[in-house]
């Protein structure tokens, strides 16, 4: 039996990679994927904790996270498409019109 803490460690690594992806990539699609990766990492940790304490709520929560993620992807991708239509580019560094 694998110690459950390993899973948590894996989740931490994946989360860090995801965060790094958000910070260093300029393609919003990849940023999005990174966000998905972070969510997945969190899910993994949650399932692992559910296993440790044998409570179902952890899994239930993962279920809801997935739903939210699905909704978020739908809206987010739609936003990207809409932005692409107006700016003809999706380079995230070109979207700085909110500059103070």
């Amino acid at each position: 039996m694998v110690p459950v803490s390993y899973y948590v460690a894996l989740s931490a690594i994946l989360f860090t990679i995801g965060a790094l992806g958000v910070l260093i990539r300029r393609n919003p699609l990849i940023i999005f994927m990174s966000i998905e990766l972070m969510l997945n990492a969190a899910n993994l940790a949650m399932v692992a904790f559910a296993r440790i304490y044998t409570v179902l709520e952890g899994q239930i929560f993962v279920f809801f996270v997935m739903t939210v993620a699905a909704a978020e992807v739908a809206v987010g991708l739609a936003l990207i498409v809409a932005i692409f239509r107006t700016k003809h580019s999706i380079n995230i560094d070109e979207m700085n019109s909110l500059k103070g």
């Binding site: 958000v22 910070l23 940023i31 995230i92 560094d93 979207m95 700085n96 909110l98 500059k99 103070g100």
Partner: protein, 693 residues
């Protein structure tokens, strides 16, 4: 067999008639519209007859409630119709004369030069006429002062609408505000009277705790004994209402202007029925008036003064309808004086006969006007083609008696009926006017109202004179205008009602012949205070003699040597400025305008422009409120308190904030990625804090 349940139908029939014409009238022809309206009025007449018939076997007042109206605490008012001998008398007059005039109007309106085949106008006229009948029926059929008031104002409205019927032109069909001004004047004068009526009803309610006739009259003697001033006040305020509606001094000025309406309207509303509502009101309130002799005297004096004052003006008029209008005012003065003296039967009697002969006179005058217009039209068509497009280039007034003359030959039927009417009005034996006028005079002499008696007698003299003058000027002599020479007789639909009315004017006196006194006995059931009047031979002789003398003088002046075209009125040559006074209505209108109307307009303008707008709205609001506020905020605080202490502190704070913001602004670079970076810094920092705290 009684038909009392028909009481509300005297109102419903005209209302149904007007609704039918209003809703479906667009598809009807002139004939159908006229027939519907006349039928509605005629059915109301039939109802009235049946009601009167029912009363013969059951003379007490009958009340028929159709619905609740205003019930608040002790104020209990219902829609109740009252059928008694007084109200049915009025109903018969209103619907009877009304129906005849409806029929006449079918012909008249078609002929009117201003009509121009506008079917909508035709329909509107009959809708208004039916509305008038309905309102008048409410007036005479109501069982409380307030329901009477509903009709009272309702007929005022109809009067407004019908005077202003040709609202966009004057009597000569030129574009003008004149008719609508006349309409407005009538309504406002009436409203002043209504003000009196309202105050009277308030006084009455708080004295008697009711406005229902029976309840008021029952308590009247007791209250008159304890507080006669109150009853006097009530009766005098009612008198103000009467002077408005029945065109007495001081509110009579609207009636002559009301002649702007179509002639059937003048006949129906402004001669036969509506203007007599005031007389009806006093007769109805007999129980109140008899308790306060002082008020009775005032009423009688107002009536008598009006009678003579208006009669003098009538002498100086040239417009055929204006003469009749002043004559109406004068005759209303007779009636008011009659009922004021307590001679209720005599007043009502004169009301009925006057309805006959004055309606006749007006309608015949309408016939004359139509004849003149036809003559003029005829003329315009024959006179060459160049002015065909505009036949009214030369201003021709078909109402002006100076343009007439010699119509006896061209319009014989009209002449004869007119003559009958004139004789009746002048009080010549045995026409209707003789009996009724005589009864009033007899009552005046008998009741000790000597001043009233002489005033009325002189007024009767003037009456005979101006009617004689009119007859000579219109029908005798030579035509003074080519239109008069080419005048044509009116069609049957116009002349037949005239003949019916003429017959009534001849035999109307039979209603209350001395010794028989049908009307007095009939009214006795309702008005308990009727004094049995006697026939006084001396009075009859004096008045007849005066009338004959007047007619003789008028013959001397106008008949013996007929007026030529363009010639000055012989009376003017004789009387000079006095005649000018008569002609210009003793300058009453000008006086009212200068004293009241212009003053009111000035006050209203001043209040609106200066007080309300310049002072209150602009100066007070802008300068005082807004100005003070600005002054306080800008000058006071800014200069003294602010700039030194508070300002310094807050300016410093502001500067600091500005600088800090300028520094922090750099973080706000618009790149999402760097925002995310800052978020991560936060996450790392918080996590670190949690781990190593």
């Amino acid at each position: 067999m009684t038909f009392f349940y028909l009481a509300p139908w005297i109102v419903f029939f005209p209302v149904i008639g007007l609704l039918v014409n209003m809703i479906f009238g667009g598809r009807f022809s002139e004939k159908v519209i006229g027939t519907v309206a006349s039928l509605a009025s005629g059915l109301a007449f039939v109802c009235s007859v049946l009601l009167a018939y029912s009363l013969t076997g059951h003379p007490e007042a009958f009340r028929w409630t159709i619905g609740e109206w205003i019930h608040i605490g002790t104020l209990q008012l219902d829609w109740t119709f009252r059928v008694d001998t007084l109200s049915t008398t009025m109903m018969l007059v209103v619907s009877g004369v009304g129906t005849l005039i409806h029929i006449y109007a079918i012909g008249y309106m078609h002929e009117d030069v201003r009509f121009k085949s506008d079917l909508k106008r035709f329909r509107r006229f009959f809708v208004f006429l039916n509305l008038f009948i309905a309102a008048m029926m409410i007036l005479v059929g109501g069982d409380s002062y307030l329901m009477l008031f509903v009709g009272w104002e309702g007929v005022g409205l109809c009067s407004f609408l019908l005077i202003g019927f040709w609202y966009e032109m004057d009597t000569l069909a030129r574009p003008s505000w004149a008719n609508s001004n006349a309409a407005k004047k009538a309504m406002i004068a009436n409203r002043i009277g209504d003000f009196g009526f309202l105050i009277a009803s308030f006084l009455m309610f708080w004295a008697f705790h009711s406005l229902q006739f029976d309840q008021v009259f029952q308590q009247a003697p007791a209250i008159a004994a304890s507080n006669p001033g109150l009853i006097t006040a009530i009766t005098l305020f009612l008198l103000l209402g009467v002077t408005g509606k029945s065109a007495q001094i001081p509110l009579f000025v609207w009636l002559p202007d009301a002649m702007a309406g179509p002639t059937p309207v003048s006949a129906l509303i402004h001669a036969a029925t509506m203007v007599t509502a005031g007389v009806y009101l006093i007769a109805r309130s007999a129980a109140l008036y008899v308790t306060v002799p002082a008020a009775q005297f005032i009423v009688a004096m107002v009536g008598a003064l009006t009678a003579i004052f208006a009669a003098t003006i009538a002498v100086g008029q040239y417009d055929i309808k204006k003469v009749l209008a002043y004559s109406t005012i004068s005759q209303l003065g007779f009636m008011v004086a009659g009922v004021g003296m307590g001679a209720f039967a005599a007043g009502m009697f004169h009301l009925v006969t006057h309805a006959f002969f004055k309606a006749l006179l007006f309608l015949s005058a309408g016939s004359v006007i139509l004849g003149m217009e036809r003559g003029h039209h005829h003329l315009a068509h024959h006179k060459g083609h160049d002015e065909h497009g505009d036949p009214h280039e030369e201003v021709f007034d078909p109402n002006d008696m100076r343009n007439m003359g010699g119509l006896r030959k061209t319009m014989p039927v009209t002449f004869w009926v007119y003559l009958i009417g004139a004789l009746a009005l002048a009080g010549i034996f045995p026409f209707a006017g003789f009996w009724s006028k005589d009864e009033i005079l007899a009552n005046a002499q008998q009741g000790g109202f000597t001043a009233v008696y002489w005033l009325l007698a002189i007024a009767a003299f003037f009456t005979a004179f101006y009617m004689g003058r009119q007859i000579w000027m219109v029908f005798f002599g030579e035509p003074r205008h080519e239109a008069a020479a080419h005048a044509e007789e009116s069609p049957k639909v116009v002349t037949v009602p005239l003949m019916v009315l003429a017959a009534l004017s001849v035999v109307g006196g039979a209603l209350n012949l001395p010794g028989v006194e049908t009307l007095t006995k009939w009214l006795e059931h309702t008005v308990e205070f009727i004094k049995p009047s006697e026939f006084i031979m001396s009075v009859a002789l004096i008045s007849t003699a005066l009338a004959l003398i007047a007619i003789f003088i008028s013959w001397l002046l106008y008949g013996r040597k007929p007026l030529k075209a363009g010639e000055v009125d012989p009376l003017k040559k004789m009387l000079g400025p006095i005649f000018t006074g008569m002609e210009r209505r003793w300058f009453v209108d000008e006086g009212y305008k200068a004293l009241f109307i212009d003053r009111y307009v000035d006050i209203a303008r001043f209040t609106a422009d200066v007080i309300d707008w310049k002072f209150w709205h602009d100066w007070f609001h802008e300068k005082v409120i807004a100005g003070t506020y600005n002054w306080l905020s800008n000058v006071m605080l800014n200069r003294y308190a602010d700039q030194r202490g508070i300002d310094g502190f807050f300016n410093g704070l502001g500067e600091w904030t500005k600088n800090a913001a300028a520094g922090l602004r750099r973080f706000q670079n618009g790149f999402v990625r760097s925002y995310a970076l800052f978020v991560l810094i936060g996450v790392v920092a918080i996590l670190g804090y949690l781990l190593f705290k």
